[in-house]
Each structure stands twice: as C-alpha cells, then as structure tokens.
C-alpha cells in the first residue's frame, strides 16, 4: 500500500503531495514532513553530508514502518522518499507524506514514521566539517522520540 523510494536524485514535495490527492475526493488531510541538510550540527559547520544505506533492507524497513503506521491509524495512503549519496546543506534528504480522512491520524502517523525511520531504517550520515569527516552519532533524543510510540497506542 505504501509508496517507498530510496534514490540519489532530488524529489519534488509538491508532486509527492499531489500524488496523494490527485483525482481523489475522500482525502481530508495530508501531513507531510521534509527533512533537510543543515549547515551546522553539534556546533560544527557542515559543508557536505553523504548518506550510506543498506540496499534492499532500507526499502523493506521503510515499508514495514509504513505498514505498522497503517495498522495503528486509519490511513488512506503513505509515501516515503529518502535520498542517498552526497548532499549539500539546504538540500532535502527525506519526505514522509500521509493522507487520511482527518488530520489527527495524518499528523500522528507522519510523526510516527519519521521517529521510527530515524531509529530503525538502515541509513548512516557522514559529515564533512572543518575538523574533518565524521560519522554522525545516533541521538538519544531520537531514541526517546521513537520510545514514545512503544506502547503501540495511537497518540504519542
């Protein structure tokens, strides 16, 4: 049911949202998240980011997360696009777009998918900073964000 893409090429958020509403009259709400490369992280300047992933597992992990979201909320459609390879500050990294009849489900599912993606989808960020290249460390705040959904309940 979910539409998942892992790609190097940029994506167009407007087109992804349109894909959820085009020709449909049952969609009442579309919640979308776009994550972008920032030129700062942990206090250091970031000049470039490179995304590594685990071909094959990445798509499966994202599909499984979207399926879990669809089990928890009454959703109409879900789209996730995640880029890999070299990215510059200002470029988009990921998009999660969720459609439903009402906004509560769309918002919760969109945030759920992002929180789980951050801790369960096999991507790794490498940053180029003035002090050299480094792998980004996983954030405890991301683990905490994911933990909020642990109880399997709907609302965070």
């Amino acid at each position: 049911m979910a539409h998942v893409r892992v790609q190097q090429a940029p994506f167009d958020a407007g087109r992804e949202i349109a894909a959820l509403t085009q020709g449909r009259r049952d969609v009442g709400a579309v919640a979308t998240f776009v994550g972008c490369v920032r030129d700062r992280n942990e206090g250091d300047a970031v000049s470039r980011m490179t995304l590594e992933h685990y071909p094959g597992m990445t798509e499966k992990a994202l599909e499984e997360i979207c399926a879990e979201a669809a089990r928890r909320w009454d959703l109409l459609d879900t789209r996730v696009v995640h880029r890999v390879g070299p990215l510059e500050p200002g470029e988009a990294i990921v998009l999660v777009a969720v459609s439903s009849a009402h906004r509560g489900e769309a918002f919760a599912a969109c945030e759920f998918i992002m929180d789980y993606l951050k801790t369960r989808a096999p991507f790794w960020k490498k940053e180029e900073t003035p002090a050299g290249t480094r792998w980004v460390e996983a954030r405890s705040s991301d683990d905490e964000a994911a933990a909020r959904w642990q109880g399997g309940e709907g609302r965070p």
Partner: protein, 92 residues
Amino acid sequence: MLRERGADMVTVLYFAGLRERLDCAREEVPLPPGTPTVGSVIERLRARDGRWSDAFAPGRAWRVAVNQRMADLATPLKPGDEVAFFPPVTGG
C-alpha cells in the same frame, strides 16, 4: 583461517563506521556447530585480532540485521543467511 570444506557459511556484511573500522565490507563466516545464533557468530568475530575484538567489545553500540530484518543476539542462524552488523542508524 582454513575454510572448512563444505562447512555451513553465513554471509556477513558491515556498514558505515563499522566497515571502515574493520576495513571489511563483506565476508563469509562458517557457522559454529550446534544451534548457531547471532551471539555465537559475535563470539567468533571477537576471537579475532584487535580490530575485531575492539569493534565488538562490550559496551560498543552496534545493531544487527538477519536477512534484512532487525535482529538481536538471540536470533537463530542457518546456512546461507545474510547477517549485517552496523552502527546505530542515523537516517531521516
């Protein structure tokens, strides 16, 4: 290490910082006898030289997937499985 002819093997992949630390992206590892699990493969890897024992030292943060699904130390293994070790993920 002499490859035991006909021994049952699993494919082991390493990603991101772990691959760089071990300077190894992929290898075939013979399955220990008995009921092999991820944990028993880890023991074998730890028994190797400094880079390996260091990378998988207690307290190190790493994750494991078996046949492209998140797994853990107790996950059982069978010949031909694909086992991946990697640092905690940082996508999104």
